[in-house]
């Protein structure tokens, strides 16, 4: 259940980052636009009394007309949880990286880049993580066409020094 303190803190934060708050199955969800994402994350990390200071998960979402980056925040020292959803444009998906807040966001952001093509500016090493480097397309997007191996004719080209 959401505590009143957390609800008040999220309300204050939402006013500051122009976000909307809703509750979904006992978890507060704060939706912001991508320029405000880092401000929202930093704000949530520094909540008084109920800091949501552990980035539990970061993932991409494809909503058709736009993409989303979903941050699941929790804490190692309390029951508070918060979900921050950052809306990202579909044509040129750019968002600031969270790696300077949590170093561990590195792999999670690389995965979101690999699967959805979301570019995290400020990321130290933004490369594909699961797929190979010259893979084309972003597999988790809804418009990605699943074809057989033969049709797609994907070739792995070995590079010098690999």
């Amino acid at each position: 259940m959401v505590s009143d303190v957390l609800r008040a803190r999220v309300g204050e934060l939402a006013a500051r980052v122009y976000g909307e708050v809703e509750e979904c199955l006992g978890v507060l969800e704060l939706t912001v636009n991508y320029p405000d994402a880092i401000a929202a994350l930093t704000g949530a990390k520094n909540f008084a009394e109920v800091p949501c200071d552990f980035l539990h998960d970061l993932c991409g979402m494809d909503l058709g007309d736009h993409l989303e980056v979903v941050y699941q925040l929790s804490s190692l020292r309390g029951p508070q949880r918060l979900r921050i959803v950052a809306r990202v444009e579909r044509d040129n998906p750019m968002i600031d990286s969270a790696t300077h807040i949590w170093k561990g966001a590195d792999f999670l952001e690389r995965e979101a880049f690999d699967m959805f093509g979301i570019k995290f500016s400020g990321h130290p090493n933004l490369k594909r993580i699961y797929m190979w480097d010259d893979f084309e397309g972003y597999p988790m997007r809804k418009d990605y066409v699943i074809e057989s191996h033969e049709q797609r004719a994907v070739m792995r080209v070995r590079k010098e020094g690999e």
Binding site: C24, L25, D57, L76, W102, Y130, M131, M140
Partner: protein, 367 residues
């Protein structure tokens, strides 16, 4: 006087290498024997399970979840079915809840045993390997007599478990629980108390608490770095709030502690198994659930304490029979980031023990 240096060179370890526990690959830069940089390369076992989930119904996806952390199959499915149940508001019968806990904990014991076994194998200890796998085999026998499969059980269903356990299951489980203290003593004697093990592992690969939290490490590795956090206690799922057990925590932050905490967790799993065996009621094992699973529109994030780290399930339903998005947050995948952070400055043989202490399984890392 100029100090002469050897030229740095990089070598490739894996994906086909015995000490990478699967198809993990790392490119290691070395200065003599000393590691200067490690770059993990993953994805050799990537099966695109998240994409697969979007074209399957909710029930059809359950067998795939076992293939994530294949050394502890039941716990992955537990996270998934509980997330869907949370979304639909399904009440699971008591007996099914207890059976789930029993199998989840047995999976944890099997996984920890295998971790100790393979950890010893990485420093050429063959005997602990055979002791641990001998006892793990008894757990796999329990799985086999129930579900027919040794590792990927496919036993949990949305709303309960697929069928009740056979009659010979409970006596076999009881005798296994009775033998557990003796087993732990044996592992301590042959592995943890061993002088070679201690000199190879103690104060190697230090992962300080702040770094662990910043790298988002979860699970036993976090607890070996001095954070007493366990989802089973902090946010109990299923009926874990009914059991009386402790969360072991160690402050050594080194390779040895990351191994040793598994031995301590075996004792706690034994307590849970004992209590579950004592309290398990008779009754149905499946709730009344519609044949066609159709959760209402909504989002749910559910996390469970997998043996390898915390696993998160983010399921977005659009009201049809197939999910809009199934996001798997594998603990082991995030824990890989520990390796480049702590292996620098250690010799290459220490890199192998540090890698073993991370307890990765590539099915979970690569999804």
């Amino acid at each position: 006087m100029t100090i002469e240096k050897t030229q740095e060179y990089s070598i490739n370890i894996g994906p086909q290498h015995t000490s990478t526990h699967g198809v993990f690959r790392m490119v290691v830069n070395l200065d003599g024997e000393v590691v200067t940089k490690v770059e993990p390369k993953i994805g050799y076992l990537h099966r695109g399970l998240e994409k697969v989930a979007e074209s399957r119904t909710y029930t059809q996806f359950i067998p795939y979840t076992d293939r994530l952390d294949y050394l502890a199959g039941p716990h992955n499915s537990l996270g998934y079915v509980q997330a869907v149940e949370k979304l639909m508001g399904i009440e699971v019968p008591e007996r099914a809840e207890y059976l789930r806990v029993i199998f989840a904990e047995l999976g944890r014991v099997a996984s920890h045993l295998f971790m100790i076994a393979s950890g010893s194998l990485d420093i050429c200890g063959w005997t602990p390997w055979s002791y641990c796998t001998r006892d793990r085999e008894r757990i796999l026998d329990l799985f086999e007599m129930t579900a027919g499969n040794r590792m990927t059980m496919n036993y949990f269903r949305i709303g309960g478990v697929s069928h009740d356990v056979p009659d010979e299951f409970m006596p076999a489980l009881r005798s296994f629980i009775e033998d557990m203290p003796e087993m732990s003593e044996e592992y301590y004697g042959i592995f943890f108390g061993n002088e070679i093990v201690q000199s190879r592992m103690k104060s190697v690969g230090i992962l300080p608490q702040e770094l662990a939290e910043n790298l988002l490490i979860t699970g036993a590795s976090l607890r070996a770095s001095g954070v007493q956090y366990d989802v089973r206690k902090a946010e109990p799922y299923g009926i874990y709030d009914r059991f009386d057990f402790n969360v072991p925590v160690l402050y050594g932050c080194d390779t040895y502690d990351r191994h040793f905490i598994r031995l301590l967790e075996l004792q706690e799993s034994r307590k849970i198994l004992q209590q579950a065996l004592r309290d398990i009621p008779e009754g149905p094992v499946m709730a009344k659930v519609a044949k066609v699973i159709k959760p209402p529109v909504g989002k749910v994030y559910h996390r469970v304490e997998n043996p390898k780290g915390e696993m998160g399930w983010y399921i977005v339903s659009n009201g049809t029979t197939k999910p809009d998005r199934v996001r798997i947050r594998p603990g082991a995948f995030v824990n890989v980031q520990m390796l480049p952070a702590i292996a620098i400055g250690w010799k290459i043989q220490d890199l192998i023990t540090i890698f073993a202490s991370m307890d990765l399984v590539l099915g979970e890392v690569d999804k």
